[in-house]
């Protein structure tokens, strides 16, 4: 079906196009993070050496998702976007190898159906593809429309990750942990589970200022900050702390810096040192050649590689030149 509905709308009069938005647009969620935090460990924000000898759990599952989208047709100024999202959980057991225990994927179209030319609209509806309809207010200049499409793709992926994570967390065995790439606080079930951790690599949200901010962003390698509770009405209550995997000196403040989210519970404070210890051990093997390797856990990188390997290949950027075709 992947190519089926695209061919159908092109046959119905949509102009075939090929545009892959730049990945650098970034995620929208971070920018909307709470900007206030309340310390739940220590009277003031401090740094703590992690327990480097803390043993990793015997079994850990890792959850991550991917999203791919591209504009495949134009009906007038209305773009037709083809999107693909997928998520997977890969479990690491005693043999230290990762194996997939759950995965889901979804392919869908994004457009403003009502604004499509009638034949194109009919072709799209007849194709049976799931369509996410943009609001009429999102139409206009391409950048505006594409930003709206991007939000829809983000939402779809986050929803898929959440669904998969919630399914997986209910199946966790005794002593098994689930590491989620991203916010834990978007799911009540995940946020309340005692053995789930969210690992956040992007730091758009600011929780501290002044000396606390400096202390948080200059935490040395192998150290963590005090546990704090971000204050947000939009998310589930969780506890959080910063953790430095690699020395930032010589690079930048965010180099090797993670923010960890865990259940909002006093036991989390007690477990932060140990959990941070084995998370620091997760920096090896390094997840090169990914550019984010300084804060991308190898196991998460592995899930992402797995998902990309299974994604439809025609989402990749065309290798052909974008020069106009010569007349034949």
């Amino acid at each position: 079906m992947a190519r089926g509905w695209v061919d159908a709308i092109v046959a119905a009069g949509a102009v075939p196009v090929s545009y892959v938005p730049e990945a650098s647009i970034g995620r929208q969620a971070d920018a909307a993070e709470a900007t206030v935090a309340e310390l739940v460990e220590d009277a003031e924000l401090r740094t703590h050496r992690v327990d480097a000898a803390a043993p990793a759990p015997a079994a850990v599952s890792f959850l991550d998702g991917i999203q791919q989208w591209r504009v495949v047709g134009q009906s007038g100024v209305v773009p037709l976007v083809r999107a693909y999202v997928a998520a997977a959980v890969r479990r690491r057991g005693g043999d230290r190898r990762l194996r997939t225990v759950a995965e889901r994927s979804l392919e869908f179209a994004i457009t403003h159906v009502e604004a499509l030319a009638a034949p194109v609209r009919r072709a799209l509806e007849d194709s049976g593809v799931t369509v996410v309809n943009l609001a009429a207010t999102d139409l206009g200049q391409p950048s505006r429309t594409l930003r709206a499409a991007h939000v829809q793709v983000d939402r779809a992926r986050e929803q898929l990750e959440r669904q998969l994570g919630e399914r997986c967390v209910t199946d966790l065995r005794d002593g098994e942990w689930l590491i989620v790439d991203g916010l834990l606080s978007e799911s009540e079930l995940l946020a309340r589970h005692p053995r789930t951790l969210g690992v956040i690599k992007s730091h758009g949200a600011q929780f501290f200022s002044g000396a606390d901010l400096e202390r948080a962003l200059t935490v040395p390698a192998g150290h963590r900050t005090s546990v704090f509770a971000p204050q947000s009405h939009a998310h589930q209550p969780i506890y959080s702390w910063y953790l430095r995997l690699w020395p930032w000196e010589g690079n930048d403040l965010l180099y090797g810096l993670l923010r960890i989210e865990a259940r909002a519970h006093r036991e989390t404070v007690a477990a932060a040192a140990g959990a941070s210890g084995w998370l620091v051990q997760e920096r090896a093997p390094v997840s090169t050649p990914d550019e984010r390797w300084d804060r991308l856990l190898y196991a998460i990188h592995d899930v992402e590689t797995y998902l990309r390997a299974r994604a439809p290949r025609d989402f990749l950027s065309p290798t052909a030149s974008r020069l106009p075709r010569a007349a034949s």
Binding site: R92, R96, R97, W278, A284, P285, V286, Y298
Partner: protein, 652 residues
Amino acid sequence: MIQRQTPESIGRVVATELKPATPHQFHFWTANETTIGIGAIVKVEGPGAGDQGSGRVVFGVVTDGFAYSDLATPLHDVVGAEGDPAKAAERPTVRQEIRLWTAAVLRQEPEEPLQPVPLGAVYLASDADVAQALRMDAYLTGAQPTGIPVGLYTAAGHEAPVYLDADFLLGPEAAHLNISGVSGLATKTSAVEFLLASIFQHFPAHKGRIAALCFNVKGPDLCFLDRPGALDDADRRRYERLGITPQPFERVRYYAPCKADGVNLNTLRTHPDLVGDVEPLVWGLEEVLDFAEVLLNRDDIDAKADAFIDFLSDRVLNKEFDDGFGGSHRVQTFADLDGLFRAIFDGLELTGRSDMWRTHHIATIRKVRNRLSNISTRCKGLVTDDGPSNDLPWGRFEDRTVYVVDVANVDALGQDLVFARAVSKLREHLERRDLGVEAVVVFVDELNKYAPGDGPETYVRKMLLDISERGRYLGLVLFAAEQFRSQVHRRVVGNAGTTLFGRMDADELATPGYQVLSPATKIKLATLPIGELMVRHPHFTQPIFLRFPRPAVLRGRDGVERFPPATDLPFEDAVVRQLVRLDRRIRPNQVKDLIAERRPDDVRRALAAVRRTRPEDALAYFRRILGARVAPVTAPAREAVPPLNPISEEPY
């Protein structure tokens, strides 16, 4: 013969722009823990395979293997482990790894149009797949199958019998077999012994009768082919799988020259229980003169010497001959010939006529005399000065019989002579179709000695070249072994339709002849365990690794331990032993009384006559021959040949 098994997918073909699948090669990955390795035969089924009339099936043999992880650069491993190798082993997650294999295509179905290998599932080949992959189905089925079991293809705990095509191993389509490998580890002799047994049991009836002539050129290698060797359960299972009865050769005829005393045999098969089966191999002047060219080195070969030898063969040998000085000669032995030479030299000297005798220069005559007398000296025991010969049973070769000629302790010149004469006689009889069998396998070890890649052109090398190029039409098949294939004449090894490789020397593998092999195949060859071989055969488009059972015959070194060679007997006892072997009624004392105070040469001559005639009453015949030839005639005083005046600048 062929067992079918349910195939089980073990991998998947992958192709990239840099490593594409082609009509001759493809790549596939397997689980990290896989049982396949270099040499494994696999089957690829393309999409639609199994559907009626659609799908492409490709058979391939694994020629190379790769393993790598997603590590971008080794430096990143160092960074991850903070420079401590111990920490690298403690990483919580094992990197993704791949086992990627390269396979060379053996066969495609359908064969036309020839296309790249489909990106399909990979299966380990079953028995039936192996037969199809190696195109054995063409000669294992039909009204007249021609399969000769050569060993078991072994991979991933699976064994499948592999057959050679008799039409391509023993003629007429192709022929000859060459086996190379390092001494002691390549098991070349064992492989040939096993294959000969297989041939004898599976040679197709419609192709007639077959025999083997083996030259034992070192130690006791081939001296116990009629004795059972030790086999274990694995060997017996392999024999059963190959459909071969594990038993020693039923009919083996041993030939060995005598020692210088003319009565003790020059072989390691002299244990009293076994020596009775060994026939003396003794040649006289006639046998040697036919192959006198063997005795002449490159510098000797000239038209004059050649013409004089032809003259002796055509005009002198076995004829009443007038030497031109009043003497009459009937030359039958070396002694007779020497008498003729002396008469010529004396005649020329005394008459002072010239330095020419019947258009032959005296220097040429002296040269030929030197070479001929040299062979009778260096190969005393093989070549008799004045006795009758005892030869292989030309014209009476028997089906499924091995003839072993033991020349291990014979001078190199004598070995050349034996080899040249035996093979030439085989050729003569096969051309006339009167050998007794339709095909003969000639096994020669140390081929690099007889047909070296460089060095002077010799009669033996020319003869081997001729056999290798034309023998297949005659049924004259050369099985040859050597340590270094690169040191053998290219045309000799090139004409071998079937080639076996045991464990190879790394330096040998670096020579240009092995460039077609992948590095992985070379390393496998360099580390090949005993009992495994790599085989190339015209039907197989790629080399195949095989395992063969130990031959069911007693190994040479075990044989000499179980049957230690007897010490040389005194002359009288040796004569007794030979006569008793011919007629068990003979009592030793009768013989000893007969030969007491007789000249050994006369005894030897009489013994040879008995051997050749094989009369009903051996002792009576021996007595008669001995009595007739040992009349108390005083030998005439031998006159020394007077020195010649300088008559030529030739140094002879």
